[in-house]
Amino acid sequence: MSTDLKLEKVSVRYGTFTALDTLDLDLPARTTLGLVGESGSGKSTLARTVAGLIVPDEGVMRLGGRILAKRRSREQRKQIQMIFQNPDASLNPRHSVRQILSEALTFHRMTRGRTDTERRCRELLERVQLVPGSLDRYPHEFSGGQRQRIAIARALSVEPELLIADEPTSALDVSVQRSVLGLFREIQAELDLTLLFISHDLGVIHAVSDNVAVMRQGSLVEIASRERFFSRPETAYSRELLAAVPKMPAAAAGATK
């Protein structure tokens, strides 16, 4: 149930600043594209443009062959779901987890009746490894990692075809980051999603992606398969990014393998 995404000559300008510069992108169905780049390179603008939060000044976007226009149908909005960096800001603090999850379900008419919604909510919580008792609790009662799991559950609730994750683990502790990344890999394997995964952390990108795209100043400078990118990066900029990652000293790295 997953569809490919195509971007043709998409441009976004903020005033005089060009955030996306006639960008072409092809994201095949059921693959994960890891998007890296420094802050200000346009990663998040790209994500928000695809999600429909920003209207591009030029260019065409297609999801599964159908054009993503400025005004999108409910169906198209459902197809693309997004997970944000900061789960605190993306969950309504006055809604319980039950309300957060069932709102999406009822809006997109995913379930019939209250018992069905209830059942689906429990299913979703189980999917993201939270206890069913969490339904009546509020976001502040959860840790950062658990909140991100709730956000993931909400995004998955409407069975999207394309999932956009914008730095979903950057605000999390390293151990929590690991478990959330594990969850992403499970979801990918299970649901056959097309996933656009944005991060500035190359270690994270390496852990989840099939393909890697590097952005700089609103353009894609390199797009390659994961193995190729990490072993033989083509552009000097990619090499610079890779060289900048802090590494364990050689002795320690050898010992921990």
Partner: protein
């Protein structure tokens, strides 16, 4: 003592912090802590003549919990210690206790911090540590003027010298800029300049690279390593990334839930971790395969200094 518990406004932080730190240093002569006296274990020290001793430090909050418990370490002149742990492990509070700048509600209830030298701090969020309404050269000059007792003209010259040392653009000499006109990396350099304006013997860094991009992070790491070599200050570097700590520091202390679970030479801790938590942190540094087209990446770690990425 109450003024030390009020967190200074971040925009004036480095300046005030050292004032507070020195205040703390003098206050140490009459420690009011109960756990003082015989029978205490000597902190695991590497240096013969430590300039900073944290001895069984315990911090408490009103609810009775201890965010930091029995933390001991010492630092010799020119040493570098990395404190690694996840959020809530008490690493930042430990650093603030060294500075004598505990947030309100947190009190020292045991142990002591002894130091006789100046310390200065570099904060995680560079924009938050700078005064948004004051041009940056002016901010640095102000810190120089008060900390080093110079007149305005000398202070400005000294400030510009510091900024040059930190690799900030020369255009600042002609035209001062506000923090929002600088990039995050440049702001962090200004914050480091502010800290160095205090001529610290100990530089305390609280996750100074966490908010930065990888390439900028690399530059700041190289910068701190170079400055330490040139200026010879001791360094306490707090981070959650074990790889960064390993690159910068010779010794590493791993903190968890307010306690130091493991401490030792950086390589020992990484190669032979004794605590499962350390092992977990090591594994959390996600591995990247080596890429072929450049020479050994390992030689970038400590000795390359300012190489490569500029």
């Amino acid at each position: 003592m109450s003024e030390r518990e009020i967190p200074a406004r971040a925009d004036q932080a480095p300046d005030r912090n050292t004032a507070a730190a020195e205040h703390a240093g003098t206050a140490e002569n009459k420690p009011g802590s109960p756990e003082n006296g015989g029978g205490k274990e000597t902190p695991t020290a590497s240096a013969a003549d430590p300039i900073l001793v944290v001895d069984r430090l315990t911090l408490s909050v009103a609810s009775g919990q201890n965010p930091v418990q029995d933390v001991s370490f010492s630092l010799g002149r020119g040493d570098s210690l990395g404190i690694v742990g996840e959020s809530g492990s008490g690493k930042s509070l430990t650093l603030r206790a060294v500075l004598g700048l505990l947030p309100s509600g947190v009190k020292r209830t045991g142990g002591e911090v002894r130091h006789t030298v100046r310390s200065a701090m570099v904060f995680q969020d560079p924009r938050g540590a700078l005064d948004p309404l004051c041009p940056v050269v002016k901010q640095v000059a102000e810190a120089v003027r008060y900390r080093q007792g110079k007149n305005r003209r000398e202070a400005r010259a000294e400030a510009l010298k510091l900024l040059g040392l930190l690799g900030l653009p020369d255009s600042l000499k002609r035209e001062d800029r506000y923090p929002n006109q600088l990039s995050g990396g440049q702001c962090q350099r200004i914050v480091i300049a502010l800290a160095l304006a205090c001529r610290p013997d100990i530089l305390l860094c609280d996750e100074p690279t966490t908010a930065l991009d990888v390439t900028v992070q690399r530059q700041i790491i190289d910068l701190i390593v170079r400055l330490q070599r040139e200026l010879g200050f001791a360094l306490v570097f707090v981070t959650h990334n074990l790889a960064i700590a390993a690159e910068i520091c010779t010794r590493i202390a791993v903190m968890r839930q307010g306690r130091i679970v493991e401490e030792g030479a950086a390589v020992d801790v990484l190669v032979r971790p004794r605590d499962p938590y350390t092992q977990m942190l090591i594994e959390a540094v996600l591995p990247l395969p080596e890429f072929a087209s450049e020479s050994e990446p390992e030689d970038r770690t400590r000795d390359s200094g300012e190489g490569g990425t500029r």
